[in-house]
Amino acid sequence: MPPPPDLAEIDAPTRTVRAPTMHDSAVRHVCGTAVYVDDIREPEGMLHAAVGGATVAHGRIKRLGLDAVRAAPGVVLVLTAADIPGRNDCSPVMGDDPIFAGGVVEFRGQVLFAVVAETRDAARRAVRLAEIEIDAEPPLVTVDQALAAESRILPDYTFRKGDSAAALAAAPNRHAGTLRIGGQEHFYLEGQVALAVPGEDEMLVHSSTQHPSELQHTIARMLKLPQAAVTVEVRRMGGAFGGKETQAGQWAAIAALAARLTGRPCKLRLDRDDDMIMTGKRHDFRADYQIAFDNDGRIQGYDVCLASRCGYSADLSGSINDRAMFHADNAYYLPAATILSKRMKTHTVSNTAFRGFGGPQGMLAIERAIDAIAWTLGRDPLDVRKRNLYGNGRDMTPYGMRVTDNILPEMIDALERSSDYRARRRTVAAFNADSPLLKRGLALTPVKFGISFTNTFLNQAGALVHVYQDGTVHLNHSGTEMGQGLFIKVAQVVAEEFGIDLDRVQITATTTGKVPNTSATAASSGSDLNGMAAQAAARAIKARLTDFAAAEFDVPAEQISFRDNQVFAGNTAIPFPDLVHKAYRGQVSLSSTGFYRTPRIHWDAKTATGRPFFYFAYGAACSEVTVDITTGEMKVERIDILHDVGRSLNPAIDIGQIEGGFVQGMGWLTAEELVFDAEGRLLTHAPSTYKVPCASDVPADLRIALFDGPNREETIYRSKAVGEPPLMLAISVFAAIADALHSLSPGKSVPLNAPATPESILHSVKELARA
C-alpha cells in the first residue's frame, strides 16, 4: 500500500503549478515563428539527402545499379551499406535494423541507398534512376500467414494466473471469439527530418526525435566516433505519438553519414509517401479469446492469445507486446487467466511505438469479451463491466501486482449519472425498436493504464538548472517537446520552486550535451520523470540560496521562503534577483543537475511477476452512435468523458491531451485503415488514401471533465501521466457501434473487427443476417 498521502502538502496553495497556463510556444505557433528542424536557417553549403527503397517485400538483392544515379545532375554522393565506417544498424535493442539493407530485403520500401545532392529536388529525382534487381521470394504479409508459417521475431511470452483451463471447463457459461484489430499510421503533421552539421571532430544533429540519446548512440556507433563527440538536439517536434521514438534514427544516421563523408551539413526530410512506407506503425493484432463466466456475468477465467504483426525486425515489439499483455485485463479482475503473446515476423515495415504502446489492443480484446458476456446473458454491458471491476479482495492482476489505487467504481458511477446513461439506454432501445435502418448504440467503458516504462531501468530522468545573476533561470531536462506541453509543465514546477514568475524561466532545447543518457520521452512518463528531476535540481540551488540567506540575514533557515519573486528572511524581503546576485558574490554555486528514478517498481521477467507500474491512470467514456445498416456509415452523437489526471499540473494542457488522444483513438478504431496487398505493398501510403479524422468527423457533442483526486503515489504535485490513457477512451465508440449492431440480432455475438469502417460495419451486418 502507498503511504497515506500528506494532505497538507497536497493541498498547499500553489502559484504557477496547477494553473491552466498556455503552451510555452503558443505565441510562436500562432505567429508562425516556432522553429522546427526544417525551419532552421540552412547552413552554408548544406546538402540534401533522399532515400531509395526495395521494390519487393522479400528477396535477395541481385543488382543495385546506381551509375545513373551518380551521374544525375546535382548529385554529390551516393551512399550504400558499404560506405558505413562502423555498424550498419539503427535498431534500439536487437541489432536487426540495417541503416541500408545489404544482401537481403525484408520489406517493400526498405532503404537500400541514399542520394546526397545540392538540392532536395535533385536528390529525390536521382533516386528514381536506380536499377534495382531483386530475386523475389514470397513474402509473409499478414499475422495469419506468419502464424501458419510459425514465423516469430521474438519468443512467445505468457502470463499465468491460477488454472484458466480448469475454470473454462468448470464454468456454467463460456464464450470464444476472434477479434482483428488494425494498426495505425502516426501521421505526425511534421514528417521525419534531420539536419547534421559536422564540426572539427564532432557531429551536431538536429532531429525531430523523441529519443535524442538513442540517436546519439546510433550515430556514434555508425561513424565509429566516441559518443561524447556526437550531440543530438531537438527543440520541438511537429507531433510524434511514438513514431519518432526509434523511427527517427535512420534518417538522422543517414544525414550524419553524409555530413561526415562530405564535410558539409546535410538535411534529410522524408517525402510523405516515403515516410508512410518506410516507418513503422501501430501493431495490428489478432486476438483469440475464451472467457468463462457465471450466470451473473462474473468472469471466472480468461484465455487470450494476442498475436501481432511486428514486421521484419524486433524494434520495440518486445515491450509493446508486453504492454498488450499487461492490459489484457483492462480494469477487470480475472480469477484465472492465461495471457499468451505471439510476436510474429512478417515481411512488412517494422511496427513500432504508438500512443498506448500495445495497451489499447490488449484492452480492446477483453472489452469485446465483456460485451459477449452481456450479449450471452441478455444483460446491459455496463452492469457486466461494473460487476467485474477490481475491488476489495479482488485486486490481484495476472502479473502479480495488486491494484491498490482503484478509483474506477466511483468514476463510473459519476459518469453513469452525468451522462444520464440509464435513461439514454431506454431511449436508444425505443429508437431501435422503431427504426429498421438506423440503429443507435450506447456504451460506457473504463480505462486503467499502467504508468512506468515496463523496462524498469528506463524510469530515470535528468535535469540541468542554472540561475543567472539577473535572477533568470535556464531550464533543461531529458524530456522532449512534441506538442504535449511537457516543457511548460516542467517550467511551472521550477518557477514554483523559486517562487518566481513563469516568464523568468527560460525553456531550452533538449540536447544530449546538457543532460546525458536519457530515456525516450514516451510511456506518458515525461512530466512524472522530468518534473521530479527538474524539481530536484531547483531544490539543490534553493537549498544553497537558503543557507546563504540565513547567514546573510542572520535568521534560521526555516524562516527563509521564496515567493512572489522575493525571498523572505524573517522580516526582511529581498527581490529574488538581488539575493541571487549577492549569492554569486558570496561564491555560491548557482547551477545544479537533478536526477530522478521512479521508486518501488520492479519486474521479474522469468516469473512474469512484480510491480511494473508505479500507479495506474484511470478514465471512463460514454459514447452514443448511430449506424446506418444499409451503408455502414456511422455518426458519433455524443461523448461524455471523465478522466483521472491526479491533481493536474496544468488543466488546460491535460484537457487538450484528453481531447486529442480521444480523437486519435477514435480514428484508429473507426476510420484509419492500413491496407497491404498480397505482395506486401502498402496501398494506403498517403493521406489521400489513409483517412485520419478531420474536423467534421469528430463528435460535435464532446463533454470532458477531470476527475479531481490526488495521485496516491508521490508523483510531482500528485499529478498523473496523461499522454496515452485518453486514447483508449475511444474504445467506448467501438463498443457503442457493436451495441448498435447487436440490436439487429439480440443474443448473438457481433462479429465486428477494428477499425469499424463503413465496410467493416456492413460486413458485420451481413454476417449477423447470415447467422
Binding site: L189, G239, E659, A695
Partner: protein, 162 residues
C-alpha cells in the same frame, strides 16, 4: 531530367515587392520557405491534403504545395508572418492561445488562415459550418474541439463589435 531554365517573377509578398528567379517546378511553399525564409508556412504532406502549407493568393487561400511559384508572377501573396504583423489575426491568435487550440503547432498557421477566411465572411457561423470549413486542414494533436471553440469565440466577439 536536367533543371529547366529559371523564370524571373515579381510579386508582392506580405506587402513587399519581390523579384526573384525561380525554377518552373518550384512550389510556392518551397519558394516562400527557402528563397524568402518565411518558414511559418509548413510542409506536411506535399500533395494538397493536410493544409499545413495554406497561404493567401490574391486574397484567397490556396495550398502552397499545389501552387507553383511561377503562377504567382504579378500577384499578391500573404503568409502567416504578414497577417500576423499586420494585426489582422490578432484576436484569432489570442483565442487560439486562450483556448489552447494548438499543441505541436505544426498545423496552426494554416489552420488560422483557413479560419480567417470563414470569419471574414462575417456573421456567426454554426459550429457545424466551422467544422466543415476547416475540415481540409488536418490537426493530428488537438482533436479540433479547441480549435472550433476558438474560432467560434472570435466570430461571436467580432459580431458583437459589429
Amino acid at each position: 531530367m536536367s533543371p529547366q531554365p529559371a523564370h524571373d517573377i515579381t510579386l508582392m509578398v506580405n506587402g513587399e515587392a519581390i523579384a526573384e528567379s525561380v525554377e518552373p517546378r518550384t512550389t510556392l511553399v518551397d519558394f516562400l520557405r527557402e528563397a524568402l525564409g518565411l518558414t511559418g508556412s509548413h510542409v506536411g504532406c506535399e500533395h494538397g491534403v493536410c493544409g499545413a502549407c495554406t497561404v493567401r493568393l490574391d486574397g484567397v487561400i490556396v495550398r502552397g504545395c499545389l501552387t507553383l511559384a511561377v503562377q504567382c508572377d504579378g500577384r499578391r501573396v500573404e503568409t502567416i508572418e504578414g497577417l500576423s504583423d499586420s494585426g489582422e489575426l490578432a484576436d484569432l491568435q489570442a483565442a487560439f492561445e486562450r483556448r489552447n487550440a494548438l499543441q505541436c503547432g505544426f498545423c496552426t498557421p494554416g489552420m488560422m488562415l483557413t479560419a480567417q477566411e470563414l470569419l471574414a465572411a462575417g456573421g456567426v457561423p454554426s459550429r457545424d459550418t466551422i467544422r466543415a470549413h476547416i475540415s481540409g486542414n488536418y490537426c493530428r494533436c488537438t482533436g479540433y474541439h479547441a480549435i472550433v471553440d476558438a474560432i467560434e469565440s472570435v466570430a461571436q466577439a467580432r459580431a458583437q463589435q459589429g
